[in-house]
Amino acid sequence: MPSKSLKTIVESLIFVHDQPLSLDRLALILEEHERADIRLALEELAREYAAGGRGIVLAQVAGGYQLRSRPEHADYIRRLTKSKGVKFSQSALETLSIVAYRQPVTRAEVEYLRGVDSGGVLKSLLEKKLLRILGKKDVPGKPLIYGTSREFLELFGLKDLASLPTLKEIQELAPPDPFADQPELPLEAVES
């Protein structure tokens, strides 16, 4: 008989692994246990999960065991992904940071700094109301000038633009070598 704890150990392992876990792999990890016992533990675990009434099922896939959400709940799971918060791609974040720090700024200036076309991402940031058009620049072609919006401040929890940390402030947090010019110890002068 496998010990009760072996079953829960196996359950833990299957739970945390991002891929199906095979009996071979389990036997390798739990080297102090008999393979036969591990197999029994797996079988018992499978029986328990199969007994039902659970939101999680133990599936046998790709030669291993994997915990999965109950297939009947797929619709609910899908809602979970739908309601996920705003996600930022690297390009959105870069563009946002350039506008934040360089505003008022034109698309051409953003693109010069990023080295890639940024029309799409500017448009989508405008749609999300994180950026706004401040006006038109008084140069040939009258390009639009962009700035950040109130929603931008809200997203980052900023009171105003002046609360935006400067690059310098971040860089100052970790100077390259803080003790490079360490003064000599003035110990001689001290009586001990």
């Binding site: 739970f15 999965r68 799971i77 992904t81 390009s91 080295g115 991402v121 003064p183």
Partner: protein, 260 residues
């Protein structure tokens, strides 16, 4: 000063090297504990002597001493000399404060947080003692094209800007080099990547190490492929990345998130 990980009180006995002390307060607390002194009535002369002895050992070992340790040495000497001076009675009303009071307050306060930090590290830490499923479940993999982190912190915004600035200088540095790759070549490359991977993130085609010329050629290639209806360009939800995909045979190209 950066001693490693969960050093606890048990290790104190072996902590002789100053490098294992977090700072002057840590060292002072150690000396007080070792000598079983009353923190509210520190014999300042003795503790100063021991403190300076540690500094001497360090110096002999040729180890760097952080500025904070020197500041504390000076503070100790100052307190010591003030203890020796007769109490001046300039303002008669105010009870003169013990010269050690400020130091004691700091030591007590520091000890408090050090205790708290030990309590924190004795909890079941995620990733050390307990583990959660911090990955996208298999059943979600088919449902979404996951993008990067869901929450955006101010720090990330600044880091993004720093990356941009770092890249600009590197790029102007390499501006002179031309890859000499043609749009036709690049189109071929993009198509073969798409055949292999089905979908591609727009950004993925623009590596940081690319020259400006290559960036331009890549961009023009994508426009060309789009014009030829060979690829489809879509954008993920919200502020999602732009994705490229091979166009299915009979479908019209979607102009949805296509760059202007």
């Amino acid at each position: 000063m950066q001693s490693n990980l969960f050093s606890d009180a048990l290790e104190d006995a072996y902590r002789v090297q100053i490098e294992e002390f977090e700072g002057p307060l840590d060292l002072l607390l150690h000396l007080i504990k070792k000598n079983e002194l009353d923190i509210y009535n520190i014999p300042i002369a003795a503790i100063t002597r021991q403190y300076l002895e540690y500094m001497e050992i360090l110096k002999e070992l040729n180890l760097d001493i952080a500025g904070e340790f020197l500041v504390m040495a000076a503070t100790l000497l100052q307190i010591k000399s003030r203890m020796l001076l007769p109490v001046e009675s300039e303002d008669e009303e105010a009870e003169p404060e013990d010269p050690r009071a400020e130091l004691v307050r700091r030591l007590l306060e520091y000890q408090r947080y050090r205790d708290a930090s030990q309590q924190l590290s004795s909890r079941h830490l995620l990733g050390r003692d307990v583990f959660a499923r911090k990955f996208a479940s298999a059943e979600l993999a088919d449902l979404e094209q996951t993008e990067e982190p869901a929450d955006v912190e101010l720090f990330e915004l600044i880091e993004a800007f720093r990356r941009v600035l770092a890249r600009v200088s590197v790029e102007t540095f390499h501006d002179v080099i031309t890859d000499g790759i043609s749009i036709a070549d690049r189109i071929g490359e993009v198509l073969s990547l798409l055949h292999a991977q089905k979908t591609l993130r727009f950004d993925a085609l623009f590596s940081e190490r690319m020259t400006r010329d290559l960036l331009v050629v890549t961009f023009l290639s994508i426009l060309e492929l789009c014009k030829l209806h060979l690829i489809k360009i879509t954008q993920g939800e919200c502020l999602g990345s732009i994705w490229l995909a091979l166009n299915a045979q009979d479908e019209d190209a979607e102009g949805d998130g296509a760059p202007a």
